[in-house]
Structure formats: C-alpha cells, structure tokens
C-alpha cells in the first residue's frame, strides 16, 4: 500500500477508536452531573453512591478519550500536510477554539470532579461536574462544525494554490449539514449511555445486589431511552434528507440506488456490485424510499451513476454500515418501548428476560456510532473536502514505511488499551455502587498504603532544617 492508503487506514482506525470514548463520556458526564445535583439537593445517599460509581467508570473512559484525542490533533499535520496547508485558515481557528473553550474547561474541572469531593462543597462539586459535562458538549460542537465544513463547505474560497480563505465565519461554522450532524451525534451519545447505564444496572438487578441504586439508575436510563430512541430516528431521517440535498452521491450509496429514479424503492438488502454498477440479489420494497426521502410517492432521487465511477465512494461499505446503524436504532427503540410496557404493568424491575435483553444492548450504541461515522466518512470519498479536494491530494510527504510502523504500533497499543479498559471498567461495573463500605474495601490493592505508610510509619526527617510551613 502507498502512504496515502496507509494514512487513511491509520486515521480511520485512530479516529474510530477515539470516538468510542467521547460517546461514552458525553452522556455519562451529564448523568453524573444530574446525580450530583440530586445528591446536593435531596441528600439521598442513593444518588451519592450512584454518582461515585458512574464517576469511576467515567474517569476511565475520560482518560482514554484524552490520550487518544491528542493523537488526532497531531495526525492532521503528520499525515495530512496537504490538507493542513489547504484548510489551516478555516479549520485551524475552529480547533484552537475547541481547545480553548472545551478541553481546558474539562481539564480544569476534572480534578475537582474526581478527587475534590472532600475538599469543596456539594454545590461546588456539582458545578465542577457541570463544567466537565459542558466541556464535552462544547467540544463536540466545534469538532462537528469542522467535520461538517469538510462535508458541506461554505463561507470560504480557495485561491489558485488551493489555499482556502475565510469570507464569513458564520457560514463556515453553521454549514448546511452542521445542525443535523451535531444533533445526531449528541443524541447518539446520550442514547448509547442510557443503554450502558441500563445494561449495567440490569446486571445488578439480575444478581439481586445494590437493589435501591440499581433500580433508580435502571428506571432513569429507560425513561431517557424512551425519549431518545424515537427522537434519534426522527433526527436521523432529517439528517438523511439533508444529505440527499447536500451530498446526493453519499445518500445514493446509503440507499444502494444506482439510477436516478422517480419514486425509488427501498432496498432492504442487496450486494452492491461496483464493477457492474448495479445491485445483485436485491430485496426491494417499491416506492418506500421515495416516501421517507421525499415524503411523496413519486419523488425523484439522484442515483450513483450521476457521477463517474471514479467519484463514487466504496458503495458496499457505506451501504452495509448504514444498515447496521439503522438496524441497531430499531432494536434500541424496540427495547425502550418494551421497557415502557413492562413499567406500565409494574414488572420493570422483575422481568428477568428483560434484564438479559438490556444487558445485551449495552455495546450496541457504540457499534451504531462506529457504523454511522463510517457512513458519513466513507460516503463522502473520494473527497476530503466534498467536491473540492481529493483525499489523495491531501496527504503528507511521509514515507510509507514510517506510516506502516506507526499504524502497526497503533493497532497493537489500542488493542491492549481496549483489553485493559474492558478488564478494569468491567470489574468496576460488575462490582457496582458501594453502599457504605469502608474506604479500604473500596479500592482493593490499596490496603497496604492506606493502612500504614502515611499515618504511622516513622519517617526519617529531612537532614537539615526545613521550613515546616507550606512554602
């Protein structure tokens, strides 16, 4: 493979791995914030225990997000120098604003959120949680503004050398696809987290442990899911119709639609054959795509063949990734509605099969997010800036060998990290909220140090006189 293909693979892998952690932490940060507020206002220790429990899981995910995110801010230069040269005037300030308004905000308050409970008041702790949660949302806003500009560029013009110059910052930030993409991603994060919370709580209900806390969390998560699952499908529909207008080739790939058609059918499943430029083994439902895309029986939708094959994305990847995402959306909606029915019949906390079902849904949101980003990123190929700059022209002058080396190491390192995370987070999650255990039991392995070293062991005093007062 050449350096461009390797760089694409590396960027796809590193950004795909990274997106898992914001997905987890945006939602859990807000959950912790809500619990902190409830604990502060009501003094109910169930909220305190839940807050501390979810804070432990949040902290592990947040750490993963930070370290994998730093990689991306440098990879754009190391691997995509041509792109950086072209768009620095436009995207540089957006990234700088993301750092200034979001990363610093999170970093400035994460210490107080995680370690400051004993040092600040409950209200101040809530404020720190709120700032971290706000930081996560602000970060997604800037980064999705940058991504949306690459999908639907506006507000800037390229000169003869291909360098973009900004005409209107408002147009750069609020591009045609920005509001839909932002809403879809933020909702995805909250929806994913609601099923993570429901799944972990279901495990404890099934085991019959931490019952009060787990019932509270299970109920809160399923209320949230009941609102968000249908909302997400509604937003997704709007986003899809926006894509039909702004990036018709991507939408055609999602639908597996080759010919520009009036009243197109919905292709449930097929094998899109790019060489033959048609679908094999297709199962179609007549006129259905026309109904949900154009809201009419005979609306016209542009097909893939409207552009030459060289300007088409890899259709099977986009086509199947879209079906995985939408399929998971339907499964989550069904689960949320089932939970509501059980709640009405008073069996929400007792139906054991439903506990297994929600446990099984825990990882689905992450898969849907990965599939969704695959649709939007693979779907705009071969363009890195849609319709303007080809990905092949955006790479950096780096040697293929160097990229192979870094790619292999990323692959190894990220797999080790994922294993470590699943191991540690899994253990924390399965252990559950601790109701009133003494601190030595709360952190197994810390007994040695907590019991002795800092309170009782005789410490050699500094040899020469030191000022005991804080310097």
């Amino acid at each position: 493979m050449d350096a461009v293909a390797l760089s694409r693979l590396q960027f796809a892998f590193t950004i795909g791995f990274h997106i898992l952690w914001p997905t987890l932490t945006i939602g859990t940060a807000w959950f912790v914030t809500v619990l902190s507020a409830l604990w502060w206002r009501t003094g109910n220790t169930v909220y305190r225990d839940l807050m501390r429990f979810w804070m432990r899981l949040f902290a592990l995910g947040f750490g993963m997000g930070v370290v994998t995110g730093i990689v991306l801010s440098y990879e754009i230069g190391t691997n995509w120098a041509g792109f950086s040269r072209s768009v620095a005037n436009v995207l540089g300030p957006l990234f700088a604003y993301e750092t200034m308004t979001a990363f610093f905000l999170e970093a400035g308050f994460i210490g107080i959120m995680l370690f400051g409970e004993g040092r600040v008041s409950k209200g101040a702790h809530f404020f720190a949680c709120l700032m971290v949660a706000m930081g996560a949302l602000i970060s997604s806003t800037w980064i999705i503004a940058a991504n949306s500009w690459m999908q639907t560029p506006a507000g800037a013009v390229a000169d003869a050398q291909g360098i973009y110059h900004v005409v209107s910052w408002w147009d750069v930030i609020f591009t045609a696809s920005f509001p839909y993409r932002l809403a879809h991603m933020v909702c995805a994060s909250f929806l994913t987290c609601s099923f993570v919370i429901a799944g972990v709580s279901a495990f404890h209900l099934w085991r019959g442990q931490h019952v009060a806390a787990s019932r509270t969390a299970f109920s809160m998560a399923l209320w949230l899911a009941l609102v968000l699952a249908p909302l997400q499908i509604f937003i997704g529909d709007m986003h899809g119709r926006n894509t039909m207008v702004e990036q018709p080739t991507k939408l055609a790939a999602m639908e597996g639609l080759w010919e520009t058609t009036k009243g197109p059918a919905m292709t449930v499943i097929a094998w899109p054959d790019m060489a033959a430029q048609k679908n094999l083994y297709a199962i179609d439902i007549p006129h259905l795509a026309s109904l949900y895309l154009t809201h009419s029986w005979d609306g016209q939708v542009q097909g893939l063949k409207a552009v030459p094959p060289a300007d088409q994305p890899n259709v099977p990847i986009v086509f199947f990734a879209f079906r995985i995402m939408a399929g998971i959306g339907v499964v989550l909606l069904a689960t949320a509605i089932t939970g509501f029915v059980l709640r009405l019949r008073g069996r929400l906390f007792t139906a054991r099969w439903f506990q297994f079902l929600t446990m099984a849904t825990t990882p689905l949101g992450f898969l849907a997010v990965l599939a969704g980003w695959t649709v939007t990123e693979a779907g705009r190929q071969p363009w890195i800036i849609y319709g303007a700059l080809r990905t092949a022209d955006a790479a950096a002058p780096v040697a293929a060998g160097a990229v192979t080396t870094s790619l292999l190491i990323f692959f190894a390192v990220y797999n080790v990290l994922l294993l470590a995370f699943v191991w540690f987070a899994g253990r924390v999650a399965l252990k559950g909220p601790i109701d009133s255990a003494p601190p030595t039991r709360e952190h197994p392995g810390m007994e040695r140090s907590t019991l002795g070293a800092f309170t009782t062991s005789p410490v050699p005093s500094p040899v020469r006189g030191t000022d005991p007062a804080r310097a």
């Binding site: 501390r52 750490g63 990363f103 000022d467």
Partner: protein, 345 residues
C-alpha cells in the same frame, strides 16, 4: 482591527502567544512528566502512591497545553504545522504512544491489584519516552529540516541528530528536576527526602546537558554561533548564560535548605532561561533557516477571529487552572477516596 492586524507587529503578538503556550506546557507538563521519570526510582510503593496522587488532579490540564500548542500552530502559523509535523513524524508518533501509556496508567494503576507493577512501568517508561522524543524534536529543529517548494522534503530519519539526543537527555534531566522540586514542595516525610536526594542527580544531568547542547549547537550550526558571538550580540546576550549559571548554583545550594517551593521555582526559572536561549538561537524562524514567522502566518481574518478568543478565553483558562491547583494546595495527603471515595462521606 484589520489595519492593526496587518501591521508587522501581528506575527510578534502571535509568536509571543505561541511561546507563552509552549512555556506553560513545558513548565506544567514538565512537573508531571518529571514525577513520572522519577517514579521507579522511588524506594517504596507508598512513595509512588503519593507521587501519583500529587499530580493526579492536574496532569490533564497540563497536557492540554500540548494540544493548545499544536492547534495554535495550525491556526496561526500553518507553515510550521504542515512542514514540521511530517518532518518529525516518528518522534511525534512515539511521543504520542508514550503519552497514551502514561495517561491511562493514572486510572488503571488505581484499579489494578495484581499487576500494578505493569502500570508503574508504563507510567515511568511513557514519561521518559515522551520527554526524550520532545528532546529529539527540539534538537532536530535547531539542526534544521530539509524543505523544498514549501513542503518537508526529507526522509523518515532526517530528524535524527546528535543534538537531538543531547536535548533528549537534557529534557529528561530537566523535567526530573522540576518533578523533584514539585515533590519537595508537595510531599513530606520519606518521599520528600527521596525527592531532595534525587534532585542532585537531575540537576547535574540538566546542567551538563545545557552546557553540551549550547556548545554543540554553536559548533555545528554556524547560524547559531553567529547569533550569539557576533558583536554587539555577545555583550547583550552574555547575561543569559551568566544568570543560568547563577540559578544552577542557587538550585544546588537550596535543595536541602530554604523554602520548600524553592527548588521547584528555581527549576522553572532554569527552564525559562533555556527557552530564552532557544529563542535567541532560532528567531525569527518558524522552520529554521526556511520560513520566518512573517512568511508562515495564516490570513488576517483568521488571526483576528483567533485573537478575540485568545484575548478573552486564555485569561479565564489560566484563572480556573490556577483555581484547580489552589483547591489541591498544600501537602498531598493520601486520601484514596479518589473518584469520590470516603473523603466526602
């Protein structure tokens, strides 16, 4: 606003902001990378618990300045970003791998029972490797990178230089010195004694490498020699090495005496002086001997947009970062109610 920004002073202002960000990064992350470098040298597991607890609440904020530096370079001086980052591909990648391991070690070490040593080693090795890579980048920058047609035009190993290795060793020593100073300030008892003892070794390494790096860069890079030794620069710049020497002497004498923050503050001063020396050697180049800060700037309308944010937001950021340090002021106590444990109950 626009006329103001088109003046020749604009690059100076943004260069000053960039230097400020790099300085804050080096000083702030220097202290927690330094604690990591010293991590395995600490005699007892209890010392390591305390060392990590002393930086746990602040390391993330410190490391964010690295992201700020990168994005600011992208936004204000894109030529520096898209030429230098490919030029230093391998050291940047290995720095990132190292930062990943040391970053996750914070959370995982706390949760680990049987394999804590693995995360101890990850934290130590990650800190050393990240620091050494930063030194390689610095040395390669002073030596210069090959540029043709406004893009990097070298191979994957053209970053490698003797100067880079010397800078790497110097930064390892320097960060260890800041870290030791931090531990003297923030801990007491046996951990503090350990920090005082190891501060000597760190100071010797730092001082020796600063001298070697200065001498070797003057010897091997003629432009740097001319900058320092041509008259009248010689007279004007003479105070920089002299003050540096005085700070090193003061550090050596103060490790066991004086206020407990003294070693830390003097180590920061030593780094600041090193940065001054670096700027003297490189100014006004963004990419040494190829692109100046005037040539490498982004558009006025981009800089104006950026300037508004920097002027309003960075002071607020500094205020709440200082507040975070304030909340965790005083000697670190080992309250392993971390993540909302017993401390508040």
């Amino acid at each position: 606003m626009t006329e103001l920004l088109q003046a020749d002073t604009v690059p100076l202002v943004f260069a000053a902001v960039a230097v400020f960000c790099v300085t804050v990064y080096v000083l702030a992350d220097g202290l927690d990378l330094g604690v990591g470098i010293l991590f395995l040298a600490a005699p007892r597991d209890a010392d390591r618990d305390l060392m990590m607890a002393s930086i746990e609440p602040v390391w993330d904020g410190n490391e964010t300045w690295l992201v700020m530096g990168g994005t600011l370079l992208f936004a204000a001086f894109p030529a520096g970003y898209y030429i230098l980052l490919p030029a230093f591909y391998l050291p940047i990648m290995f720095m990132l791998f190292a930062l990943i391991f040391r970053g996750v070690a914070f959370g995982f070490r706390l949760q680990a029972t049987r394999f804590r040593l693995v995360w101890d080693i990850a934290f130590f090795a990650g800190s050393v490797l990240a620091t050494f890579c930063q030194g390689l980048i610095l040395g390669g920058l002073i030596t210069g990178v090959p540029v043709e047609n406004g893009m990097f035009a070298g191979g994957p190993f053209s970053f490698l230089s003797l100067l880079g290795v010397l800078c790497g060793a110097g930064l390892v020593g320097g960060y260890a010195l800041i870290g030791a100073g931090w531990l003297i300030w923030k801990t007491d008892g046996a951990t503090q004694v350990f920090a005082r003892e190891i501060a000597h070794a760190a100071l010797i390494l730092t001082g020796a490498m600063m001298a070697l790096v200065s001498a070797w860069s003057a010897w091997s890079v003629p432009e740097v020699a001319v900058r320092w030794f041509a008259f009248p620069n010689l007279a004007l710049l003479a105070p920089v090495p002299l003050v540096t020497l005085a700070v090193i002497v003061a550090l050596w004498r103060g490790i066991w005496e004086g206020g407990q923050a003294r070693t830390f503050l003097l180590a920061l001063a030593l780094f600041a002086l090193g940065l001054v020396g670096l700027i003297v050697s490189l100014w006004p180049y963004l990419v040494p001997r190829h692109v100046t800060v005037w040539d490498g700037m982004s558009d006025p309308q981009s800089l104006a947009f950026l300037a508004v944010g920097i002027a309003i937001i960075i002071p607020i950021v500094l205020a709440y970062q200082a507040h975070a340090y304030w909340v965790f002021r005083g000697k670190t106590v080992h309250e392993h109610g971390a993540y909302g444990g017993h401390a508040g109950s």
